[in-house]
C-alpha cells in the first residue's frame, strides 16, 4: 500500500470512529472530543518538529504547554488595579534593579580579564543585586498577594482578547525554549531528556509558587472566551429565531406549549453545538496553518538539512552545518508550536490550573501520539493526536462495557464482578499501553511512517 492510500485510509477510519461516537453517543460529545483532538494534534506536531525532524529528545513538553497556558491567562484576564496600586511601583523597581544587575554582571564579565579580580567583582555585583532586588520585590509580592487573597491576590493580566494569547503563548514558549536550549542543547540525547524533564518541572514549580503572577495553586478561573457563551445565546432572540427556522420541520404540527418546550430544548442543545463548532473552526484553522507550514518546511532544503543532522551529526558538521545553532532553532520552533497548543487548551478549559500539569498527561501522552502516529511524518502526528486522544476519552465507556460484557455470565452480586466493574475506569491506561505495544509490534515506524524519497538511503 503506498503512502497516500495509507493516509487516506487511516484518516477515513478516524473520521468513521468520530461519526460512530456522534451517532451512537451524541453529537455534542463528538464535537468535544474533536476539539481536543485538534489541540492534541497541534501539540504533537510541535513534538514531531523536534523529534521527527531533528532527533531532539525533548521530554519537557509539559513546561512549554504550561507557558502557553500562562500566556492565555496573562493576555486575557483583566488587570487588578488594587494589586497594581499595592505592589506595582515596588515591583517595577525590583524589575529594573534585576535588569541592572544582569547588565552590570554581563559588562563586568566582558570588560574584566579572566582572573580572581573578575570572580570577586562578579560575586559582589550579583550579591548586592540579589539583595537589592529582593528588598523591593519581596515587599511588592507580599503586598500584591495580600489583596483579597481568596479571590485575587495577583496582578491579573492585560485584558486583551484571548485570541492574541495563542500567538503570545507561542512567543512565550519560544522565549523559554531559547533559554532552556542555551543551557541544555549541548547535551546529547539521554542527557538532554533528563535536563528537559527537570526544567519542565522547574517551570511548573514556578507557576505553582509565584502567586503574585499566576495565583499559583489557587487557579485562575473565568478566562474570557473567543466565542459566544451558551447562556447568552439561549437568551438572544436572533439565535432563538434562527434555531426555530433551522428546526422548523421538527417543530411543525406540535401544540403551542409542546412547541415552546421543544424549542427551548433545541435552543439549549444547539447553543452548545454552535459554540463547539466555533471553537472547532478556530482550532482547525490553526492546525491547517501549522500543518501546511510544517509540510513545506520538511520538504524544503532546510528540512533535508535537519534530517541529515538527525541521521548523522558528524558528517553534517563536516559539510559545514552549524549543529548546535540548527538544534537551537528547531527546539525553539517546536516549543513555540507546543506553546500555541497549550494556550488553545487553556482557552478551551476557560481556566488556568497550574497543579493540573503533570508529565503523564502533557509530556508522555503527547509522545505516544507522535510515536503511534509516525515520527518524522507530519500527517502521522496529526493522526496520532486524533487517535490517542480519542482512545484516552473513549477508553472509559468501552472499558465499562468490556467489564460488564466480560462478567455478564456472573451473578449480579458476585464480588469478582463488582470489583472489576469498580475498576473499569483504570482500563484507560491499560488500553493506551496496548495500543502502543501493538503499533510498535506490527508497525514500528508508526501508523504513517516517515516518507523517504527514492534514491535516498533507507
Amino acid at each position: 500500500m503506498n503512502n497516500t492510500r495509507r493516509s487516506i485510509l487511516s484518516f477515513s477510519v478516524m473520521a468513521g470512529l468520530l461519526l460512530i461516537v456522534g451517532q451512537s453517543q451524541s453529537w455534542p460529545l463528538m464535537l468535544t472530543i474533536l476539539n481536543l483532538c485538534l489541540i492534541s494534534s497541534v501539540m504533537a506536531l510541535g513534538v514531531n518538529i523536534q523529534w521527527g525532524y531533528a532527533g531532539l529528545f525533548n521530554v519537557g513538553t509539559m513546561g512549554f504547554a504550561a507557558l502557553g497556558g500562562v500566556a492565555a491567562m496573562l493576555v486575557s484576564k483583566a488587570p487588578i488595579p488594587e494589586a497594581w496600586a499595592a505592589g506595582g511601583s515596588n515591583l517595577f523597581i525590583g524589575v529594573v534593579l534585576f535588569l541592572f544587575t544582569l547588565g552590570a554582571a554581563v559588562a563586568a564579565y566582558r570588560k574584566i580579564p579572566k582572573g580572581s579580580l573578575r570572580v570577586i567583582a562578579l560575586s559582589v555585583i550579583i550579591l548586592i543585586g540579589i539583595f537589592a532586588t529582593r528588598y523591593f520585590s519581596d515587599t511588592a509580592i507580599a503586598d500584591i498577594e495580600a489583596v483579597n487573597p481568596a479571590l485575587t491576590g495577583y496582578l491579573g493580566g492585560l485584558g486583551l482578547p484571548i485570541l492574541f494569547s495563542w500567538a503570545a503563548g507561542g512567543l512565550l514558549a519560544a522565549g523559554g525554549a531559547w533559554i532552556v536550549g542555551k543551557i541544555a542543547l549541548g547535551l546529547r540525547s539521554d542527557y538532554l531528556a533528563i535536563a528537559t524533564l527537570g526544567i519542565s518541572e522547574i517551570i511548573i514549580a514556578v507557576l505553582k509558587n509565584e502567586d503574585w503572577l499566576t495565583r499559583g495553586v489557587k487557579n485562575v478561573a473565568g478566562l474570557p472566551r473567543p466565542v459566544p457563551y451558551e447562556i447568552d445565546l439561549q437568551k438572544s432572540d436572533s439565535f432563538i429565531s434562527w434555531i426555530e427556522w433551522l428546526n422548523s420541520g421538527a417543530l411543525k404540527g406540535l401544540s403551542d406549549s409542546g412547541r415552546a418546550d421543544q424549542l427551548s430544548a433545541f435552543v439549549i442543545e444547539q447553543s452548545g453545538i454552535f459554540v463547539k463548532l466555533c471553537y472547532a473552526g478556530l482550532f482547525t484553522t490553526v492546525l491547517l496553518l501549522i500543518l501546511s507550514m510544517s509540510v513545506m518546511a520538511l520538504n524544503s532544503p532546510w528540512g533535508r538539512m535537519m534530517r541529515a543532522i538527525r541521521d548523522n551529526e558528524v558528517s553534517a558538521a563536516a559539510m559545514g552545518k552549524n549543529i548546535t545553532g540548527r538544534h537551537l532553532q528547531v527546539f525553539v520552533i517546536g516549543s513555540a508550536v507546543v506553546g500555541i497548543a497549550g494556550a488553545m487548551l487553556t482557552t478551551l478549559d476557560g481556566q488556568l490550573t497550574p497543579a493540573a500539569y503533570n508529565p503523564l498527561r502533557f509530556t508522555f501522552l503527547i509522545w505516544v501520539m507522535v510515536i503511534v502516529g509516525g515520527s518524522g511524518n507530519n500527517l502521522g502526528s496529526v493522526l496520532g493526536g486524533f487517535l490517542i486522544w480519542f482512545i484516552w476519552i473513549e477508553a472509559e465507556p468501552v472499558g465499562v462495557w468490556l467489564m460488564d460484557f466480560g462478567t455478564s455470565w456472573m451473578d449480579e452480586g458476585n464480588p469478582v464482578r463488582l470489583h472489576l466493574m469498580d475498576s473499569a475506569q483504570h482500563m484507560r491506561l491499560f488500553m493506551m499501553g496496548m495500543v502502543l505495544l501493538l503499533v510498535m509490534r506490527f508497525n514500528p515506524g508508526g501508523i504513517l511512517p516517515e516518507v523517504t524519497k527514492p534514491g535516498l538511503n533507507k
Binding site: 509558587n209 478549559d349 484516552w392 465507556p397
Partner: protein, 394 residues
C-alpha cells in the same frame, strides 16, 4: 450473528438504553488520579442514597434512580469536560453528583453543566473561588468552603490561649486556600503567624522544611496537608529532630492512620474536622458500615447528602426534569419543613408526595446559604490517650 449481537450490545452500552421510569443521575468523580483511593467510597455513599430512594417505591410513582459513573480524573480538565459532556448529552442524566477536585469542578460547571442547565452538587470541592462562579443557580456543594475552616481553627486556637504558630501547607488549592483563610482569621483575632511555608507531597525527607519552620521560633506548628502524604512526613521529621511537639491539624490530617504511624507523641494535638458528632452523622456511620463503605472516610457523608438532596428535589418538583430539580433543591435542603435524617429518605419522599415540605438535615446538617453552599459545622478534636476525641462542635 454473534458479531451483530456484540455490536448491538456495544451500541447499547455506549448510548445507555433507556427504560421506563428509570432516572439517570451522573456520579462524576476521579476514579483514576490523585484521589482514586477515596472516590469508590464517595460514589458508593451517593448510590446508597439513590438506592434508598429507589427501593422506597415512593419516588415519582415507583421510579428508580440509576447512577452512571464517569471519571473526572481530578486533574485533567479536558478529560473531565468530555466525561461531563458524555453524561449530559449521551446518557441524558438529569443531574450530576460531582465533581470532586476544585479545578475540574470549575471546568465542568462552566463548560458543560451550566450551559446545558444541569444541576451539579459537589461533595468535595472546597475552593473558596468556586463561590464566585456565574452559576445561574445550578452549582451547589455539600462540603463547606475552606474559608470557613480557617475561621473555626483561629477561634479554637484563641480560646486555648495559643497566640503564635508556624504554618505549613500542602502546595495545592486546598492547602493554600486553607492557609490563606486561617492566616487572615488568626491575625484578625490578634494571633501571630511566625512563618508560612509550603511543602510538596511525596517527598522522602522533610527535615529541611521543618528546619525552616522551627527557626522562626514558634512552639506550635499548624499542618494543613494530607495524613498519608507530606503532612505525616512533616510531623515525623518535627518529632525526630525535636523541633515541635505541639501540632494543630486540619481535616486532611485527621484519621486513625496518623495515630498508628506516629504513636503516643501525638497526645495533646488539636484539630478540626467538618461534620458534627450529630445524631445524623452517627446514623450515617452505622448505615455506611453496613453497606461496606469505609466508615469515617472523607467526604462520604457529603456524598450521601448530595445524592439524597437530588432525590428529594425530584420528588418535590414532581418530575425528573433538569430545570425542575434546580428549582426545588434549595427548598428541600432548608427550613421550613419536617427534619429528615439519613435513612429517612423514604419518609421525606412520602411527605413531599402528599404535598408537605421537608428540611433535609442528613449526615452533615445540610443548610444552603443563598448561593447554594453549606456553612457546615466543625468538630474541635484533641488527641487523648492515643485517639481523637471530640471536645466541642463549632
Amino acid at each position: 450473528m454473534k458479531k451483530l449481537l456484540l455490536a448491538s450490545t456495544l451500541l447499547a452500552a455506549m448510548t445507555g438504553t433507556a427504560m421506563a421510569a428509570e432516572i439517570k443521575v451522573g456520579v462524576l468523580l476521579g476514579y483514576t488520579g490523585p484521589i482514586e483511593s477515596l472516590t469508590p467510597d464517595m460514589a458508593a455513599s451517593a448510590e446508597l442514597a439513590f438506592d434508598e430512594a429507589s427501593n422506597s417505591g415512593q419516588l415519582l410513582g415507583g421510579s428508580k434512580i440509576v447512577s452512571i459513573r464517569a471519571d473526572s480524573t481530578c486533574v485533567d480538565s479536558a478529560a473531565a469536560t468530555a466525561a461531563g459532556e458524555r453524561l449530559i448529552s449521551s446518557h441524558g442524566v438529569v443531574a450530576i453528583m460531582g465533581a470532586d477536585c476544585s479545578g475540574v469542578t470549575g471546568a465542568v460547571a462552566n463548560n458543560v453543566a451550566i450551559p446545558n442547565g444541569v444541576v451539579m452538587v459537589s461533595p468535595s470541592a472546597t475552593s473558596p473561588g468556586l463561590s464566585k462562579i456565574k452559576d445561574n443557580g445550578f452549582f451547589f456543594r455539600t462540603a463547606p468552603s475552606d474559608a470557613r475552616q480557617g475561621e473555626v481553627l483561629a477561634t479554637v486556637l484563641k480560646s486555648r490561649g495559643i497566640m503564635e504558630v508556624a504554618v505549613t501547607y500542602t502546595n495545592n488549592d486546598y492547602g493554600k486556600g486553607l492557609s490563606d483563610s486561617f492566616n487572615t482569621a488568626f491575625t484578625g483575632v490578634g494571633g501571630k503567624i511566625s512563618i508560612t511555608a509550603a511543602h510538596e507531597d511525596g517527598k522522602a525527607d522533610y527535615s529541611a522544611e521543618v528546619g525552616a519552620l522551627s527557626a522562626a521560633g514558634s512552639k506550635h506548628l499548624a499542618v494543613f496537608g494530607y495524613l498519608d502524604q507530606g503532612g505525616k512526613g512533616i510531623i515525623q521529621a518535627s518529632l525526630d529532630s525535636g523541633a515541635f511537639d505541639n501540632f494543630i491539624l486540619a481535616d486532611g490530617m485527621i484519621g486513625d492512620s496518623i495515630i498508628e504511624a506516629i504513636g503516643k507523641d501525638l497526645n495533646g494535638t488539636i484539630g478540626t474536622l467538618p461534620g458534627g458528632e450529630s445524631a445524623g452523622a452517627i446514623t450515617f456511620k452505622a448505615m455506611a458500615g453496613k453497606a461496606g463503605i469505609k466508615v469515617g472516610g472523607p467526604f462520604t457523608a457529603e456524598s450521601y447528602d448530595a445524592g439524597a438532596l437530588l432525590a428529594l428535589a425530584m420528588q418535590a418538583a414532581g418530575s425528573a426534569d433538569r430545570a425542575a430539580i434546580q428549582a426545588n433543591i434549595m427548598s428541600v435542603a432548608n427550613a421550613p419543613g419536617e427534619k429528615i435524617m439519613p435513612g429517612e429518605i423514604a419518609k421525606g419522599l412520602k411527605i413531599l408526595k402528599s404535598g408537605g415540605s421537608v428540611d433535609y438535615v442528613g449526615a452533615t446538617d445540610v443548610n444552603f446559604n443563598n448561593i447554594g453552599e453549606v456553612l457546615g459545622s466543625y468538630q474541635e478534636l484533641e488527641v487523648k490517650g492515643g485517639k481523637f476525641e471530640t471536645i466541642k462542635v463549632h
